[in-house]
């Protein structure tokens, strides 16, 4: 009994500790870096504020150089090809990425990521590649949305089907406000390589295995214990 109580206590301690952090901290692969939410969901546990990003792109021979701007926590990356900006009269282009607060809540849409403002001091004239990371605690976004103002209207600018796990990417020919999400009332298509049901199914299978496997083992052990007790009694009865 004491053994079971100690193990139960340790299990309870683990459950409490694991509940305070985002799931997925094991070491088979690099743990997913916790997402930094502007508006954290209640299940997020400890949350740090999201970071902003700043980039200076040099103008070389009258053409803006290729470069990528990203937030310091890597939650948004935007890549620019050579000549992406109209650099008339400029020697450099400045790009700033800022998380938007308060969180936009447009009607008919659910955002899985923070909204970010991506601004530059020169007009964008070539498409840029936008990559947004999202949390494993959020529903997988289906699309990236863009707006000229945090109040909208938000336009669906698509999503690449080849996105890495927990990232969504697309191309944009305008800067502005960006967020990844899905239409309200629709079922998200899910991110690349992810499964929505595997974990609950795994737990259910494990519970069934423990129950189904545990019953015969328990019965066998009790039978063995009774036999042992009977043999002891017989031994005691012998003169």
């Amino acid at each position: 009994m004491k053994r079971a109580a100690l193990l139960g206590l340790a299990a309870a301690l683990y459950l409490a500790a694991a509940w305070t952090v985002a799931p997925g901290f094991y070491d088979g692969f690099a743990p997913p870096q916790p997402y930094n939410f502007v508006c954290p969901p209640p299940i997020a546990g400890a949350n740090l504020p999201p970071k902003s990003g700043h980039l200076v792109i040099m103008v070389i021979n009258g053409v803006s150089d290729a470069n990528s701007a990203f937030t310091d926590d890597g939650q948004l990356v935007i890549g620019f090809l050579p000549g992406s900006f109209d650099v008339t009269g400029k020697t450099q282009v400045t790009v700033d990425i800022t998380p938007v607060s308060p969180c936009p809540n447009p009607p008919g849409l659910h955002f899985s990521t923070n909204a970010y403002q991506v601004a530059a001091d020169a007009p964008l004239i070539k498409s840029a590649t936008l990559v947004m990371r999202y949390s494993n605690l959020a529903t997988d976004p289906s699309f990236v949305y863009r707006a000229d103002s945090p109040n909208g209207p938000w336009t669906n600018i698509g999503a690449s089907p080849q996105a890495q796990v927990y990232t969504i990417d697309t191309k944009t020919d305008k800067l502005g406000y960006f967020a990844a999400g899905y239409p309200a009332g629709s079922v998200s298509k899910g991110g690349g390589g992810a499964s929505n049901q595997i974990l609950p199914v795994t737990i259910a299978v494990l519970i069934v295995l423990v129950l189904v496997g545990g019953l015969p083992v328990t019965i066998l052990r009790r039978r063995q214990a009774r036999r042992g007790a009977a043999i002891d009694e017989e031994d005691d009865e012998e003169p």
Binding site: L6, Y14, Y26, G28, D140, G191, L206
Partner: protein, 167 residues
Amino acid sequence: MLAVEWTRALVASAPNAAVPALLLGGGALALTAWGWPAGTLGLGRSRLGLRVLGGLALAIVLLLPAAARVTSVPILPPALAAAAIAVSIGEEIAFRGALFSALEDAAGGPVAVIGSTALWTAAHALSHPAEFLPAVAAAGLLFGLWRLLCRDLVGPIIGHVIADLAL
């Protein structure tokens, strides 16, 4: 053990190095048990069915907080899954196997539980953000107590492998 774990964590962050680092790290950790009898490490064959069931039960505990909250999990590619299995087994053999047995021989069971948990947590300091370490320590304590009270390492190995594969 700490050197192996920290080196593994640093090397794994390089491009395309995660799988080799995990495989080699897991192998190197398993080597720490070289020369120890299987029974002393908790790897004897008695009550094997019960030990396997115990491992499944440990996996349920480890996965419960995630299963209650996560909407999706990544499916590991085969190479990474194999590497995850290797490093899980290696860590259990090293920390709850060889290190635990050495500490228990030297100073008794409670010191073995506390010592193996402390080193296990320190070993994850480079690969995990600081806020994850209390949960890592709690998992180490659960495994260590299981090892002490059930005289078994099969359960922690099974629980650890399943948790790594499922998350």
